[in-house]
């Protein structure tokens, strides 16, 4: 049976996230949520950090969630998940839970709640080895509060707090490599994925859910409003990120790196920049140097990642 049909069947007739929420027309997040939650078989409890997904789906007295769901605050989703994991361990130990069922603990957080304000709680939870899956839907800025820059915002992107202007080219800093930060915690499973490469996302979720300990999934997710593109262009915009090697798809299993997708041809970075208003200023002739810098950085990181992946493959 096709993977998608399996995912439909896994839902058992109840979609985990239903319609009626207030996410933007064409929002890229629900697809990620659907891919993750319908890949996981069995019961889940979702912890959601403050952000677009949380706010737009749970305006009291409505909810768009059909699974157990908690929101506590912005920076602590991983800590809340730690508590739920510890509770499950403790209750199982004193036979207060059905022996044969494990409830999967899944966190959804945006890049703000992962890279920045959420980093401490995430790092602590990863270090303690709790059994949970942390999914970052990375749309590269604080979108819910009006597209402000975050530690995930790419170099030279224009956001409302790093706007391109007469004396500024946008964000002056490189974005953090959050996937590498997660890898540094010696986890059983870490992966980088992209929302519309859904088959890759789903396979990664399967491996992550089977991990005996924390798993971290960093999923590039489009934001039509914040990135400045038509919603229906999402598959092409995300493809540009992957095919230019700006956002490589890879996994790190027990510290061993491997690519899960290699673009047949690395496209020039302009293909990533040209589809989005947040990069429009970079396409002006006077910004050729900036484009070259961006291209050089992408090339360097891609070469380094490829080398690491092939070394680890050889060393197997």
């Amino acid at each position: 049976m096709s993977r998608l049909k399996t995912m439909v069947r896994n839902q058992n007739g109840v979609q985990p996230l239903r319609g009626g929420h207030a996410l933007c027309q064409g929002c890229g997040i629900p697809m990620v949520v659907r891919t993750v939650l319908s890949t996981i078989k069995g019961p889940v409890v979702v912890v959601n950090a403050t952000g677009c997904l949380e706010v737009a789906t749970t305006r009291y007295p409505t909810t768009a969630w059909n699974v157990p769901w908690l929101h506590v605050a912005f920076e602590n989703a991983a800590a809340v998940a730690s508590g739920i994991d510890a509770a499950q361990v403790a209750l199982r130990r004193r036979h207060a839970l059905p022996a044969d069922t494990e409830v999967a603990v899944v966190v959804f957080a945006g890049d703000g709640g992962t890279y920045d304000i959420g980093l401490q709680a995430l790092s602590g939870a990863l270090e303690r080895g709790h059994r949970f899956l942390f999914v970052c839907y990375d749309n590269e800025a604080y979108m819910n509060t009006g597209v402000q820059r975050s530690g995930a915002t790419p170099f030279a992107a224009s956001t409302t707090t790093s706007p391109a202007g007469l004396e500024s080219f946008g964000k002056a800093q490189q974005r953090k490599d959050m996937t590498a930060i997660a890898v540094a915690h010696h986890l059983p499973y870490v992966a980088q994925a992209a929302s519309t490469y859904w088959d890759d996302v789903s396979r990664k979720v399967q491996r992550a859910a089977a991990a005996d300990g924390p798993a971290f999934l960093n999923v590039l997710t489009d934001c039509p409003l914040g990135w400045g593109h038509e919603p229906r262009q999402a598959p092409h915009v995300i493809a540009a990120a992957v095919e230019t090697c700006f956002w490589p798809l890879y996994e790190v299993v027990g510290g061993r790196y491997s690519l899960t997708y290699e673009p047949p041809e690395a496209l020039p970075i302009e293909r990533w920049l040209e589809g989005q208003k947040r990069f429009a200023h970079l396409l002006r002739p006077e910004n050729a140097q900036l484009r070259a810098e961006i291209q050089a950085a992408v090339d360097r990181e891609w070469a380094s990642l490829r080398a690491r992946c092939f070394a680890d493959e050889k060393g197997a």
């Binding site: 157990p68 908690l70 809340v80 508590g83 510890a86 361990v89 209750l91 709680a121």
Partner: protein, 387 residues
Amino acid sequence: MITAAPQLLTGGEAVAHAFRQIEPDVVPVYPITPQTPIIQTFSSMVADGQAHTAIVNVESEHSAMSAAIGSALAGARTVTATSSQGLALMTEVVYIAASMRAPIVMAVGNRALSGPINIHCDHSDSMLVRDSGVIQLFAENAQEAYDLTVMAPRIAEHPGVLLPVLVCQDGFTITHAAEPVTLLRDEEVRDFVGPYAIPQPALDARHPATRGPFAMPDYYFEFRRAQAAALEAALDVVFDVAHRFELLSGRRTGPYEGYRLQGADRVLVALGSSAGTVKDVVDELRDEGEPVGLLELRSFRPFPGRDLARLVHGVRTVIVLDRADSPGGAPPLAADVSFALRDSGVHVTSHVYGLGGRDLHPEEVRAVFSGDAPQYLGVRGGDPCRV
């Protein structure tokens, strides 16, 4: 009821024993002086198999309270401990724990808030979460710290309450000083606290629920009103649980204790260990013919305002001792007492004492009763301001 022999225990150790006997499912915790003896002693007990608790050594107090919410709402009895800066750091989450109605028990070793950084006792940390919607009970000594901790789960988990309960004991003065403490038997505590149950625990996936919603102006106020109602209802629950505890232990550790109020024309109101000092001075002054008394409060939140006027009926002056200040305004306990007595005709005065661990001396308490003390007790440099 068999009374066991008292043991010499610090307040911290006594609370650790209470934790051991309650045997919570999960304890997420981060170290900070002066709460550390509690978690260190308890950790040893767990390491020796005396309690089967999942201790989660989190990476900050903010995460301790966050993990506690996750655990408590998942369906596990959850306990933690903190002081001072730790309580300050987790304040955001303490408010949320109350609003999400998570029945977490937290031991607080009361310690001054920075700055300057100070590790000794005052009540400024508790006052920081005064308005958060949590229950706050103050112990006078190590025995009361133990008793209140044993009582706390039944208060927190009562279906009409479902709120975090903070059991507060003065840092160092109680946490680190050894006193005779009579422990109940393990099975007595186990039976007293009973099994943990909350509506629709999050790990029950057959009954999914959404917790921690976003509320617009059309609903937020109703949430807060409902929380206030829960705190008001909690006072009767504290009385009831204290009564049941008295039946079990022979010791009454209720929301307040009147000490020699009969015929008093001056009554001092205080929280925490200083109440013990005041009791000694009240005895001395009474021997000298002075009609003085003490109203020791244990339940700061919910504040027993409805009973206050009755308790101090006939009293000329109520003097409030605050071990915390509110610069530019009224000290917190004085504000609550004044408001409760606003229609009573009783004169209310206020002093601030003991900030940053400064001891309160019996001579100072005498001066307070004789109306001869500065507003800030025992501060070098004198004090021209009088309230």
